[in-house]
């Protein structure tokens, strides 16, 4: 594909704008000097990724991303930050000085994902461009072809849930139990 044909396609323009905005938001997540600002930029980055999915006609995935990440994960994140410490203004201690190793790791991870995607899909084109993937098809795929990964993810989440409760709960000492009069 030459650059002329690429640029004449409006969806490529949309892809470029949304992609750049997402990258910028992602960059600001790690460089923001205020932890709440970082979380809010994460909302922007998630919205950008959802918009990319919309451009790929993956409507359900896009809105699932908004529902789960913006609607639940980031709100819990913000909730956690605000209930513990959330000063307004700039926090200079927020960025650590160890940047080389995480930088190398990030580049390596990016290279790995790029390599894996190119290796797996190569020149394959999406057959459904312009025609949203129906949720029926998606649901059927999830409980037939992808049922094992689906169940495995379920187990991982269950494990996380049990782990979370174990960490958060605190057994009462005998004295406290006595104070409660055994009513607890």
């Amino acid at each position: 594909m030459t650059f002329d044909t690429w640029i004449s396609e409006p969806s490529n323009w949309a892809f470029s704008v949304v992609g750049l905005a997402t990258l910028l938001a992602g960059f600001r997540v790690v460089t923001a000097k205020n932890v709440v600002h970082a979380a809010l930029f994460l909302v922007g980055a998630m919205g950008g990724v959802a918009a990319l999915f919309l451009l790929l006609s993956a409507e359900f995935v896009a809105w699932a991303l908004v529902l789960v990440y913006v609607g639940a994960v980031i709100i819990l994140l913000l909730f956690g930050i605000m209930i513990t410490r959330a000063p307004t203004g700039i926090d200079e201690t927020l960025s650590g000085d160890k940047r080389a190793l995480p930088g190398v790791l990030a580049v390596a991870l990016f290279a790995l994902i790029t390599w894996a995607s190119v290796e797996a899909f190569g020149d394959a084109t999406l057959a459904t461009i312009g025609d949203p993937t129906s949720t029926d098809t998606l649901g059927e795929m999830l409980v037939t072809r992808f049922v094992i990964p689906f169940e495995v993810v379920g187990f991982v989440l269950l494990g996380a849930l049990v782990g979370g409760i174990t960490i958060a709960r605190r057994d009462l000492t005998p004295l406290e139990e006595e104070q409660r009069g055994g009513l607890a």
């Binding site: 809010l40 809105w63 959330a86």
Partner: protein, 332 residues
């Protein structure tokens, strides 16, 4: 002529945007005025009386103009960009909800195939806006209000989604028009078999809207309006309009899911083209009336009661409702 113009994508887009931009303040004012007058009636007061000459009908218009004149105060310690942007985020969630409300046969801004899922996802933007407002005000009352709002919305989002899920199972589609058509085809509104789901949906949407008895994030008597404390002028107006417009749009979604949407049996199909929006608005306003009525009928719940109601009662019941609906769908 007009049909020709509207077939142009950009003209249609601008027309739709203008329609929503006019509809939201209008709906907000109608619901807000209804709240003022009904509250007054229920307390044996007169309510707004002088503005506009008769019944005080122009009271909300006057209030709106008053808000525009007021100074746009921003606290010195506030996080200015976040503080300024928060009302916009709340309004974005409100406007985006109107995209999938079906007003009549073929009368919908966009009949997304994932309609109800989109509505539930996009309404979480409002929560982000409320948290932004609460934190950026640099005020303890605001922060507590924002935190309460977040805790409440996380808890009540699940019963809301589950009760909508039962309807999706019944209808076999997530498209809002599809759900209305499924009810026409079935011959009865889904509320008949989904009465449990309907009750849970209404309770959860009351909580999502921070209405009494779940108005802890605002709680005038203890938090002096919570996350709204520091807002004034037109930014306050944004929150105010969004709240009333949200009351209407949540009711419209409940009507679409459970009460047959724009359809009323006995009305010929060609008349529905014009009467559809009227039917939807009347049905929604009945639910809005119930919400205003609840405000003067129930006391505010405590924080622990609010959380245990959601996690110990609504979520298990709505899950059981989903399972029962699934079994019912497969067996019949």
């Amino acid at each position: 002529m007009i049909a020709d113009l509207l077939s142009n994508f950009w003209v249609a887009l601008v027309a739709k945007l203008l329609l929503v931009a006019l509809a939201i303040p209008l709906i907000g004012m109608v619901v807000g005025f209804g709240e003022m007058k009904l509250s007054a009636k229920m307390q044996a007061r007169v309510g707004p009386y002088f503005a506009g000459g008769r019944w005080g009908w122009a009271q909300l218009l006057a209030d709106g103009i008053k808000f525009f004149q007021k100074e746009d105060l921003i606290p010195r310690d506030a996080d200015k960009p976040v503080f300024k942007f928060a009302p916009v985020v709340v309004m974005m969630g409100t406007v985006a909800l109107f995209v999938v409300i079906p007003w009549g046969p073929g009368l919908i801004f966009r009949d997304l195939s994932v309609g109800i899922f989109y509505a539930l996802a996009i309404s979480s933007l409002t929560t982000v806006g409320v948290l932004m407002a609460g934190w950026s005000s640099a005020n303890k009352y605001s922060l507590i209000g924002g935190l309460r709002a977040a805790g409440q919305m996380i808890a009540y989002e699940l019963p809301l989604v589950f009760s909508a899920l039962a309807v999706v199972i019944m209808a076999g589609t997530m498209s809002m028009q599809g759900i209305v058509e499924a009810q026409i085809e079935a011959g009865y509104p889904f509320v008949i078999l989904q009465i449990v789901g309907f009750v849970i949906f209404v309770i959860a949407s009351l909580a999502e809207l921070s209405r009494i008895p779940f108005d802890l994030p605002i709680a005038e008597s203890e938090l002096v309006m919570g996350y709204l404390t520091e807002y004034s002028g037109f930014r306050f107006l944004f929150f105010f309009l969004a709240e009333f417009a949200n009351m209407f749009s949540m009711s419209a979604i409940a009507v679409t899911l459970f009460l047959g949407g724009w359809y009323l049996p006995g009305i010929p199909a060609d008349a529905l083209e014009y009467l559809g929006p009227v039917i939807l608005v009347v049905k929604s306003l009945i639910l809005v009336f119930a919400m205003i009525w609840f405000r003067w009928a129930f006391p505010r719940v405590r924080q622990d009661q609010l959380q245990s109601l959601a996690w110990k009662w609504l979520i298990p019941i709505s899950l059981a409702n989903v399972i029962l609906t699934g079994v019912f769908k497969v067996v019949l």
